[in-house]
């Protein structure tokens, strides 16, 4: 084991181990060493990860043979041996993110899995080392070109860290070796935060499920590669990194992006973004039953409740409340891309007409149907691609100023709030005993005081609200509206951040 100075615990174990066990362990590290050709700091880091994971497994009574079998460096293949030669132009919707971001204002979202036992960081780190080899389009750093930003392949050790801040804070991408995502743990929760430049909720969920599945395998489970769990030994599909906006673009009618500024909820904007996160944990059967009683879908019901809660947090009845509903374009166009491929529906109701849930349900249902129609979304896709094509020959230095100004005036000012619903996420049955629930948190942007998102796993629907104000009226009214429908809610979240 040339590159690793074994830890004291491992050295102590090896001294007392049999010849056979020593040989098995040394073979594992030899195999690992032969697969690493990175900067020495990364190589030492990865070797140390395996050392710590092995020590942990041995300390829990797992036999050396079984521990080595679970850790198996063959999962890494030759990924860390080869120089990175991959790069990816940004997809059509990602191009705006690096141009519109500023300090403390970055489009970040988080996906989390709550395990049934406290997370073992040593095993999570080794799981990440293996899983990232399957997703080269996430192993990237953000780079600046002359006309556009782009994603440059990055062969490095991506570190798992313990949470020490509010979710969806900014990610430091200033160095050419900085990744655009981070994996964190806290208690029983594994979280991945993505800069939106990389992927959307659907793509991010594939990564999370694969990471959690590999983590469970290191705990001893036998998890199949089904229900969206990728096989980490498989060759990555090039279509996973395609820009599906270009693949499905057809010249034709445009529409969907322009609009008037929306009424914004009250409450002073906090400096720290977001100022807090709240999760409403509900039984998905109760939620579905409440929606069925009203004769609408779950998304319609929740959107209507958000309209009412938004109105409750406004003093003035002037203006329109506009809710943005992201739509996964993979439901319309068959695409396996892991990059961004979503657009949005825009629902609008005058604030003065939002009195209670029942009075707006029909209107919300109708707008949701027309706003998520294939025709409307295809027009929006055409607009998006045409806008990007028009801006192509302009140097980035000029484009940046222009987009920042436009985004400052339009951007999230067109909406009062967002509801992004990932829907029911399936996981393999074998993974169910390990995963209690999942959540999905949207980072806040400039002016919207709240951003809502939801995901349903294992019968638990978790509605998350990321706040940009200390004013609690929005979430309190939303809670009241949902509990009035007979839905039991457990509320969890973060402490309110100081300004």
């Amino acid at each position: 084991m040339k590159k690793l100075r074994a830890s004291d615990e491992l050295t102590e174990y090896l001294l007392g181990a049999s010849e056979e066990d020593r040989a098995v362990i040394e073979d594992m590290f030899s195999s690992l060493e032969s697969r690493l050709n990175l900067a020495s700091v990364y190589e030492r880091g990865i070797m140390r990860d395996y050392d710590r994971a092995l020590v942990y497994l041995l300390s829990t009574g797992v036999s050396p043979d079984e521990a080595v079998k679970r850790l198996d460096p063959e999962k890494l293949g030759g990924y860390y041996c080869r120089e990175s030669k991959t790069w990816y132009p940004l997809d059509s919707s990602a191009k705006v993110y690096p141009l519109s971001m500023s300090r403390n204002k970055m489009q970040v979202f988080r996906l989390s899995a709550y395990m049934t036992e406290p997370v073992v960081p040593e095993l999570l780190q080794v799981a990440l080392n293996a899983v990232i080899t399957r997703f080269p389009c996430f192993a990237v750093s953000v780079r600046r070109g002359f006309f556009w930003h782009y994603l440059d392949g990055l062969k490095a050790r991506f570190e798992v860290t313990e949470e020490n801040d509010i979710p969806c804070g900014e990610i430091d991408i200033s160095s050419s070796r900085s990744p655009a995502f981070r994996v964190q743990y806290y208690g029983d929760r594994i979280s991945i935060e993505f800069f939106h430049i990389l992927t959307d909720g659907t793509g991010g969920m594939v990564f999370l499920k694969t990471l959690v599945a590999e983590y469970a395998r290191l705990l001893g489970a036998d998890i199949p590669c089904t229900h969206g769990v990728a096989d980490i030994r498989a060759i990555p599909d090039p279509q996973e990194s395609e820009n599906s906006f270009l693949e499905w673009y057809k010249p034709g009618p445009t529409g969907g992006f322009m609009g008037s500024p929306a009424a914004q909820m009250g409450g002073r904007l906090t400096r720290k973004r977001p100022s807090g996160v709240i999760h409403f944990i509900m039984d998905s059967d109760e939620l579905r039953s409440a929606a069925r009683q009203k004769g609408v879908s779950v998304t319609t019901l929740l959107t209507a409740a958000i309209f009412v809660a938004s109105r409750a947090s406004m003093d003035s009845p002037d203006g329109n409340i506009q809710i943005q509903i992201p739509v996964d374009m993979r439901r319309i166009h068959p695409s396996v891309t892991l990059r961004n491929f979503s657009l949005y529906a825009s629902l609008k109701i005058p604030a003065g007409k939002v009195n209670n849930l029942d009075s707006i349900l029909a209107d919300v249902s109708e707008q949701l149907k027309s706003g998520t129609s294939e025709e409307y979304l295809n027009h929006m896709l055409t607009s998006a691609v045409m806008l990007v094509n028009a801006a192509r020959p302009i140097p980035l230095a000029l484009k940046g100023w222009f987009i920042r100004i436009i985004y400052g005036f339009l951007g999230d000012k067109l909406f009062s709030n967002t509801l992004s619903n990932l829907g029911i996420v399936e996981i393999p049955d074998e993974l169910c005993p390990y995963v209690r629930m999942m959540d999905f948190v949207l980072g806040t942007v400039i002016t919207n005081r709240a951003a809502c998102s939801m995901v349903t796993v294992n019968g638990k629907a978790v509605l998350s609200i990321a706040k940009l104000t200390r004013d609690p009226s929005f979430e309190e009214r939303l809670y009241a509206e949902l509990t009035a429908l007979g839905i039991h809610i457990e509320a969890e979240g973060s402490a309110r951040n100081e300004d």
Binding site: A39, F146, F147, D152, E163, S176, Y186, K272, R392, E492
Partner: protein
């Protein structure tokens, strides 16, 4: 509604840089506006242009870009800004010395930045394009200056030779990788 806390308390972070940036932006803006106003009011040489460009150079260090703000990229930007600043001072205020001083400053800075690149070539080559282009631009500027003036300006000639040598060294070290980096840098997709 009772909310169970399931998140760690955020670490307290020093607000010094945030406060500094917040104060600095107003100070810079005020200084820039004031200098233009005073210069227009009292007339004379357009020294406010020098002031505004100086403020821009200082602010580019304090408000570094959020993407690719490594040492070599920042250093290249600083060298170019400083060269423009010295040229402005020479052109607008006190002519006659910049043609000697600027090539020497630029040549020295390019040597220093190139040394940084070569010391950790594997790590820094991915952000070598701005430096490489600056070396190329220095060669072209030196050649053009000497051709157009018809004379032989020694500092510009030295700059041209140093930049050419460094440019050849960068190309030789990076070889095919350089075209790959250029292709990424200028992509239009």
């Amino acid at each position: 509604m009772k909310i169970k806390n399931t998140y760690p308390r955020p670490d307290k972070r020093s607000a010094f840089m945030r406060v500094l940036r917040k104060v600095a932006i107003w100070v810079f803006l005020a200084a820039a506006v004031a200098s233009v106003a005073v210069n227009l009011a009292i007339g004379g040489k357009p020294w406010c242009i020098v002031v505004v460009w100086s403020i821009f150079t200082a602010s580019s260090l304090l408000f570094s870009p959020l993407v690719e703000s490594g040492v070599i990229a920042q250093g290249t930007r600083l060298v170019l800004n400083a060269a423009v600043l010295l040229t402005l001072i020479d052109t607008l205020l006190a002519p006659g010395w910049a043609i000697t001083a600027v090539p020497i400053m630029v040549a020295g800075s390019l040597i220093a930045l190139s040394c940084l690149l070569f010391v950790e070539i594997k790590r820094h080559r991915v952000c070598s394009i701005p430096l490489t282009m600056s070396l190329g631009a220095a060669v072209v500027a030196s050649a053009l200056y000497n051709i157009l003036t018809g004379g032989l300006n020694v500092p510009m000639l030295v700059l041209g030779c140093v930049a050419l040598a460094l440019f050849i060294a960068v190309c030789a070290t990076m070889r095919g990788r350089l075209f790959f980096e250029l292709k990424k840098y200028f992509h239009l997709r």
